[in-house]
Symmetry: C2
Subunit: 193 residues, 2 copies
DNA sequence: CTACTATGCAACAAATTGTTCCATAGGAGG
DNA sequence: CCTCCTATGGAACAATTTGTTGCATAGTAG
């Protein structure tokens, strides 16, 4: 028993439009009326799918707020592994809908417990990935165990978010290289000194 | 010719309430109606002061979005100067209305050019302060001129914002100490080698 | 061809947003 | 204390937005 293709079609076109509005004009402007005007879908149909404004906004958020899933790579060397993780993150922040929506998710998280949960869960996963990379480097003997891994992770990840969310400056390969240089120099310096 | 005290009084109580709503429930809920209900000030009076919702929200934002002005301290040593700057920033993020509102400012900046201007101007000032601290350290010969100052500044400032905006974890003196340890170790390591 | 169901449309109710007018109360200056 | 000026409160109002309902139509599954 498959789903009626009309349901699928309207959901898709409606959320496409909602997503665009959310990115271009902010959550304030995501309403049944706006989506209806943008898509031609009648308001009543939209209300059938999402009973109120809150539902519609949540759906639009969920559509694109799903963070990029970064497959791990821990075969070394450290710099290469880190570059892989941070490169994907950088690319996502720079060029995907997820990156565009990130500021609004941050704001939502400050007043909405559910949104905050989503974001912290995600960060936990992200940190775990970076931690695995460092653990592998320690296993290989590339760095020693007394490196302040937690802080390094924080710095590694904080920088890209900071540039995107607060400085609004794009990141490129060159920036990533310098960032990695610094991170690795810290890791080596504090390693088994 | 002084201003009518009634004007001042209503502006103050109204914006106090607007600020509270903005922090607790988000920009979406800052409306003339909500402020009226919260303060007892009649809607018509509020409309006289702020002709539409946009004005009211902007006013509420400006009220608290004015970032902390951090008096510079460049008399060394480097770690002490940095601690002063970052300590004030950390305190502001932790405990002031400005810190509570920061996420919403970030979101506003992503769709509103004016808000973005405010935030980038502020960051420019902030960076200049930290830069002055490093310049003074170089002058004193504490570190040498080939330290990657720009990156250090970015890391120094990015971490507190990241913790506040994205991780939603409080910072304490202990955290700040570890953060400074790492920053100074980088500065020294890359200095004059 | 026959049920079934999602859509569009129009009419509607309700809440919100913004405007206007007037009486009143509070402040400034003599 | 008296007078002028102005800000406020309140009510009535229009306009817009938000949410609801009923029905005809068109697309879907069997």
């Amino acid at each position: 028993m498959k789903e009626d293709p009309r349901l699928i079609a309207t959901r898709q076109t409606a959320l496409d439009a909602a997503q665009k509005i959310l990115m271009d004009e902010g959550v304030l402007h995501v309403t049944h009326g706006a989506v209806s005007k943008a898509t031609g879908i009648s308001r009543s149909t939209l209300y059938r799918h999402w009973p109120d404004a809150r539902c519609l906004r949540d759906a639009a958020f969920r559509r694109i707020a799903t963070p990029p899933n970064i497959p791990p790579k821990t075969d070394g060397p450290l710099r290469s592994d880190l570059r892989w993780l941070l490169g994907v993150l950088m690319g996502a922040l720079n060029d995907t809908p997820w990156g565009q929506i990130a500021p609004q998710v941050v704001a939502a998280a400050s007043t909405d417990a559910e949104a905050r949960l989503v974001i912290t869960e995600f960060m936990k996963d992200r940190f775990a990935s970076v931690e695995a990379v460092f653990a592998a480097a320690i296993d290989r003997g590339e760095i020693t165990a007394d490196v302040p891994v937690d802080q390094l992770i924080e710095l590694a990840v904080a920088a890209p978010y900071f540039r995107k969310l607060i400085r609004h400056e794009a990141m490129d390969e060159d920036w990533l290289d310098r960032h990695l240089d610094l991170l690795c120099s810290i890791a080596k310096t504090n390693s088994g000194q």
